[in-house]
Assembly symmetry: C2
Homo-oligomer: 401 residues x 2
């Protein structure tokens, strides 16, 4: 009983956390409940029930299957479902009509063959990446409806009535979903994608800015390391989520493609550009991960030579400037504007600092007494930072749309 | 018409390529066709049809929705569907029974409220990561069945008969899918996951081995660069797919969890371990990407000093040894054995080479005339390679299970 109690408390806590993390989830759950209750009116209001009979079931089925978290998801599924049902229904009636000519015995054979070939062909098209991305659900419904219609064994006139009933209930179900997801606290996939990308770039910026601070600790005041690191550590780990965001970015971009104009987004918003920026951000995160490996307290040099300090100075500058540039870019994405002059100037400053660094490296020769082992981490850091600048520049160009 | 023709030819080519890339796709499509044709026998064979009537529809619906590419996918969906239908059906009958007490007018209100609350609660549970991973489809079917039963407005005895019919047709549909996906050229998610991980590690190994060759070109014979690079480039890009394999690894691991023992895999095969190895492989790929940025022909130094050659020698050694170690690890994963002594000795050799490198760095001081700019790329390479060794070691430990 004690175990059970702690488990229940645990679950309660988790539930609360999930709800708090994104309150839209609770709203979404209630929207589904509302849509289902509305649709079940078909059964309760007898006049309607008499008109549609058992077909009202299809409205419920449609609502449960079609209602997605984002507007784009709901739209894509309902539109897919509607068109696939229409097309497959028409084809099914045609098949039935054809099979009618073949007599009592030939009919099942012909229909069976047609179901086999169409199902095989349609299933195979689901492996095409283009179709998988946008019309996967439509193909599924196509197979389902065609088999149901072709196989139902009714004569043609009956089928028309059945088809009419089913189609209209599916339409009613789909329309209910679309209305509710559009007008009751809509969750736009496009907006989510937009925020995700801007947030990712901001995380990268926060890391680079914070990394500048870490660097100065690395060679400078060693005593403060222990205490200050704990507070900063959060943004030193945040960037990791950027590495794994590819899948959610892609599904959001797919859904966003289906959404009508909303908020600041036009109808033909360049969603693909977001994917490009996302890919660049991931590349940058990759470099950051490599960077993270360079600076660990173990490799802290005992003697700090003059050249180390010089290199370190420009590294800190590059790191902080590029971090600020990314933050500016992120905020200009958020505001949907061209990158502000501040962002451009930060990128320029970065480049200037990198040039300085190159100069230092080229002109200064090492004092012979210091060994390479000691100087290596800072050199590696410098080199990776230069790569990161390239990346930041590319992102800045991509943000220009 | 010309455009159309070229489009048709294009599509044909694509179709052929998709089929060739993985012939199991064609087999899968035919399996779906077969399952559907078998199930539609319900309609054609009149004795059966008389027994089940319209409920035969549910068998077709189940087949279309449940049949997945892998055995694990099909099993997970059918089991989810079966249990969810049972549970929701029982609850629905209970709700109906309760509502019966409330009289003609209270009944719809009570039922409507129950549908609303259960649908809201169930939809919310779909946001729990654990449930989303394994039981997402089950929850969906639960909502669907409960609403259908609670709302259908029949009296209780009728419901039992209807439920019996529906459940048995769903079972028949599910069983058909399971049988066909188990016994007709089964596609095991576990096997796929196994191959994916082993293949990814092999790709990393191939890159590192090839990178050793690139390195020797980098400082050595410059003349051959142009010609030999084209041939080698394929494995210099292959590693990129490793970076993006997280999503497919996770879904395969989920499906593999549902699969019974098959081939060399026991029932409680440690699928999670594969995810750990996969994550390490991705980390390694990230480092490799950073490595790839270091060596570009532009930064090729004009003067090759003695120390550069020394460092380069050990870099090449590390690169090739670690590549071979990864290849050995990959083949021992493939054979499901503990890492062979060869793998262990390659890892040892790597470490020895890294120690050598450290020694070189520690003892040799730079000749004052060479500048840092020139020596930097090779230093960075060395440093990242040392990180990669750590990564390889971790992978090797993880493979030990």
């Amino acid at each position: 009983p004690k175990k059970l109690k702690s488990k229940v408390v645990d679950t309660m806590k988790k539930t609360k956390k999930i709800g708090k993390d994104d309150p839209r989830r609770i709203v979404h759950a209630m929207k589904v409940g509302l849509a289902l209750t509305l649709v079940s009116l078909f059964y309760y209001l007898r006049p309607l029930y008499d008109g549609f009979g058992q077909a009202g079931m299809w409205a419920i089925l449609t609502v449960v299957v079609v209602f997605e978290f984002t507007v784009g998801g709901t739209l894509s599924k309902s539109i897919n479902r509607g068109f696939a049902t229409l097309l497959a229904g028409a084809l099914g009636v045609g098949a039935e009509y054809l099979a009618d000519f073949c007599g009592e015995k030939g009919e099942p054979v012909i229909l069976g063959l047609m179901v086999f070939f169409l199902a095989t062909a349609a299933t195979f098209t689901r492996f095409f990446p283009n179709i998988k991305r946008k019309y996967d659900y439509g193909v599924l419904i196509f197979i389902l409806t065609f088999s149901l219609v072709a196989v139902s064994g009714f004569r043609v006139p009956e089928i028309f009535e059945l088809g009419h009933q089913r189609l209209s209930t599916i339409l009613i179900g789909g329309a209910t979903c679309i209305m509710i997801s559009l007008f009751v606290c809509p969750v736009w996939a496009g907006q989510d994608l937009h925020n995700l990308i801007a947030g990712n770039i901001e995380k990268l910026g926060a890391f680079l800015e914070g990394f500048g601070g870490e660097l100065s600790i690395y060679l400078g005041e060693e005593s403060t390391t222990g205490s200050s690191k704990d507070g900063e550590k959060s943004f030193l780990r945040d960037y990791k989520s950027v590495l794994n965001s590819k899948a959610s970015e892609e599904s959001l971009a797919n859904f966003a493609w289906w959404e009508p104009a909303h908020g600041q987004f036009m109808f033909h918003h360049p969603w693909k550009q977001y994917l490009t920026i996302g890919a660049l951000a991931r590349e940058c995160a990759c470099l950051i991960q490599a960077l993270n490996g360079c600076i660990n307290p173990k490799s802290q040099p005992k003697v700090v030579s003059e050249i180390q300090t010089k290199i370190q100075q420009s590294c800190i500058k590059i790191s902080i400037e590029s971090g600020q540039a990314l933050k500016e870019l992120s905020s200009s994405i958020k505001k949907m504007m061209f990158p502000s002059p501040a962002a451009v100037s930060h990128v320029q400053d970065c480049k200037a600092a990198a040039d300085d660094l190159r100069n230092i490296l080229q002109t200064t020769s090492l004092p012979t007494e210091s060994d390479l082992q000691e100087i290596m981490p800072i050199l590696v850091t410098a080199s990776i930072l230069i790569d990161i600048i390239n990346c930041v520049e590319k992102i800045s160009l991509a943000v220009h749309e």
